[in-house]
């Protein structure tokens, strides 16, 4: 048992580190935080430049075959690249605009698209010239994505699309998107769906930012009004959209799964506890505070070493076990709990945020963002269902909607 690279891994790591040292742009910490606004043209320009550089060197997608511009590498090499890139200041933050496109949309296109479409779209996406988004969730279909209502109706060789999507990350900066629609409301809901890719710059597509409870706007609503799409933009068969979407969602869980929490974890709480005085002396000497720190530490450390186990499987060329699926369920509630507890330690002054708060308000910001993290990319509840069904082999809940035609389903308000 050890944490060392194999000889081959060490060679690859050295290669990557050398390349990053020579090529990674300098992004300082403060700037990185500011740059999280994806619409900022300065950020977008820096992100696209970095993406182009990575792609030219073959590092944009390590596991993709060389023929499509990847590195032709292994999953463990992708992990090593991510680790090394993560060490180079904040340069990983520059990858955000391309994560969904390259992580979910393009793999779906590569599986179901025509040869012409693949030839046309994969490379520009890889080089950061074109950005993609994923249009699945709707006001009436979140966890229950297959309950979506956006209609696509065939007219000659075209489809006319009307409806509304929501929670679309990056729609405002995207050039293309993959879109899940309902093409047949007369059959049970999973059977009447069809997938397309669309031009986000079409005037029939309107993007409006959503103002979140936190005040930030990381997501959008997208309104589709008489959008005309060629039949050649269909991905997969008519009525087979659910199967296509599952391909995409499988990639989403992998992409969203790990390492979130905005850099807020036990070390920050420990730093705060060492700084603050409570009624009975330094917070760090308070038994209740120490118990809480330990509770969260074992969950953080448990996740870290679970990741090491996953990497070990990859390193041995094995399929990682299901333990990799636990990350988000642990991270998101922990973020919420740690940040709320930190404000408790701050006492009355914990009600302040930003520059007025202790430690620049990281806990207040974490607390405010945590509800979103517990929902995005699969709610805590859906993720528990997934573990129960796919890992533990428990049966699905009874489904009242499975065999009814979509247009006969009760729909609430």
């Amino acid at each position: 048992m050890d944490f060392e690279d194999t000889a081959e891994e060490a060679k690859f790591r050295a290669e990557v580190r050398n390349w990053l040292d020579a090529n990674a742009p300098a992004v300082d910490d403060g700037e990185g935080a500011e740059l999280a606004d994806r619409s900022d043209p300065k950020f977008l320009a820096a992100a696209k430049a970095w993406q182009a550089k990575r792609a030219a060197a073959g590092y944009a997608r390590i596991t993709w075959p060389r023929e499509v511009g990847g590195y032709g590498g292994t999953p463990i090499q992708q992990v090593i690249f991510n680790q090394e890139e993560g060490r180079s200041g904040n340069v990983s933050a520059l990858n955000a605009p391309f994560a969904i496109g390259l992580g979910m949309c393009i793999p779906t296109l590569m599986t179901y698209g025509t040869r012409e479409a693949i030839a046309r779209y994969v490379k520009p996406a890889l080089f950061g010239e074109e950005i993609w988004c994923q249009l699945f969730s709707e006001p009436a279909g979140g966890s229950d994505v297959a309950g979506l209502r956006t209609r696509a109706e065939k007219q000659d060789d075209q489809w006319i699309i009307n409806g509304q999507k929501i929670w679309t990350t990056g729609a405002q900066i995207s050039d293309y998107g993959i879109l899940l629609t309902r093409t047949d409301p007369n059959v049970p809901k999973h059977k009447g769906l069809t997938m397309f890719y669309i031009d986000m710059r079409d005037p029939a597509v309107e993007v409006r930012p959503i103002k979140q409870a936190s005040g930030a706007s990381g997501f959008n609503e997208v309104f589709l009004t008489d959008l005309r799409v060629k039949d050649s933009q269909r991905l997969g068969e008519v009525g087979d959209g659910w199967r296509v979407a599952l391909t995409t969602l499988m990639h989403e869980r992998l992409a969203v799964g790990g390492g979130q929490g905005g850099g807020l974890d036990v070390p920050q709480l420990l730093a705060l506890a060492r700084e603050l005085e409570l009624e009975d002396g330094p917070a760090i000497r308070n038994a209740a505070v120490r118990e809480k720190i330990a509770d969260w530490y074992v969950r953080s450390a448990g996740l870290k070493y679970t990741t090491y186990r996953t990497m070990t499987a990859l390193s041995r060329g094995q399929q990682p076990g299901p333990e990799a699926s636990i990350a988000k369920i642990v991270v998101a509630p922990k973020l919420q709990d740690i940040s709320a507890f930190a404000t408790e330690l701050e006492g009355e002054a914990g009600a302040l945020k930003g520059h007025d708060a202790a430690m620049e308000g990281i806990f207040q910001a974490g607390w405010m963002g945590a509800p979103g993290l517990r929902i995005a990319g699969g709610t805590d509840e859906i993720l528990r269902n997934i573990i129960a069904e796919r890992v533990l082999g428990l049966p699905q809940d009874v489904r009242v909607d499975k065999d009814l035609p979509f247009n006969k389903l009760p729909s609430g308000r």
Binding site: V266, I284, G302, A313, P395
Partner: protein
Amino acid sequence: MNFDFSDDQKLLRDQARKFLAEKCPPKAVRAVLEGEAGYDRALWKAIAEMGWLGTAIPENCGGLGLGYLELCVVAEELGRALAPVPFSSTVYLFAEALLAAGSEQQKSRLLPRVADGTLIGTFARAEGPGAVTPKSTRVSFRSGKLSGIKTAVVDGIDADFAVVLARTSDEPGERGLSLALVDLNAAGVMRKAQDSIDPSRKHAQITFDAAPAEALGTPGEGWAVASRVLDHAAVMMAFEQVGAADACLVMARDYALNRYAFGRPIASYQAIKHKLADMYVNNELARSNAYYGAWALSTGAPELPLAAAAARVCATQAFDYAAKENIQTHGGVGFTWEFDCHLYYKRSRELALSLGPQRLWKDRLVSALERANAA
């Protein structure tokens, strides 16, 4: 990255699991739980024959000299089977204390007997309810004589030898404490069986009345050695807890799949699914922390105090949750004597307390974090 057991170690795990499934079914646990015998003698003998007792004992002391990783693998299976034998007292505590502080003479005299199963050992610390602290340690060890009363000594009735945390001087704090090595069959030792929360692991009160004893390690360093021994034991115990917690998850899952209520398996209700998913998450976190503890233990890494405390806290929490929610998943029958759920429930609390409670280990964890942070 090579953060997993080797193929050989996994093979050992499979063998241990098979062996214990055959030699230590729930019936065997019940026999000790319901009977007068302190442990399962046939199982103990068979375990000795397998060589497990000497797994981490060096070859020159009669052991196999394999290492802690192999011992951790065995510990997980002993935990899964709730093996009613004095393994943890003898191997994780007694033998580890000898390895940590014993003289060559003490080690070569006693460790071969541990390895061949002819010596049961234990480690006596508590003297009453409340925390074990230098202040609460009053048993005295002076001029080769041990006097005072220890309580809740695991396997205290059947043990042949004990390591005893005792006061050797009036110096306040840790420096007044030392470890004494005592033959429990000698004059001046009286033992009384105590009722245990988990009667498949027996406890005893031991009264020493000027009992002859010898020093184990340097006088005044008893507390420090005990602390190191507890770190070692915590890692191996964490594997027992992880194994047992996994057994609870399997029991709860199998029951939920076959129990129908309101016309369907209860495993299809989210109230049950989410409970079992949480159990799975806790168990995986505990397993990963235990692996890290095993790495630190087997390499003698300076991270051991932090790794051991994290392994201990996480495994205790996982087993606690799994054991109680296993009963809850079973409903009423889970609370009957006939079903095996209570065997795990009882053991979960016994293991949670036997090396000191979570409060203690959480404090040790944060102290280790503070030290790491200051360094």
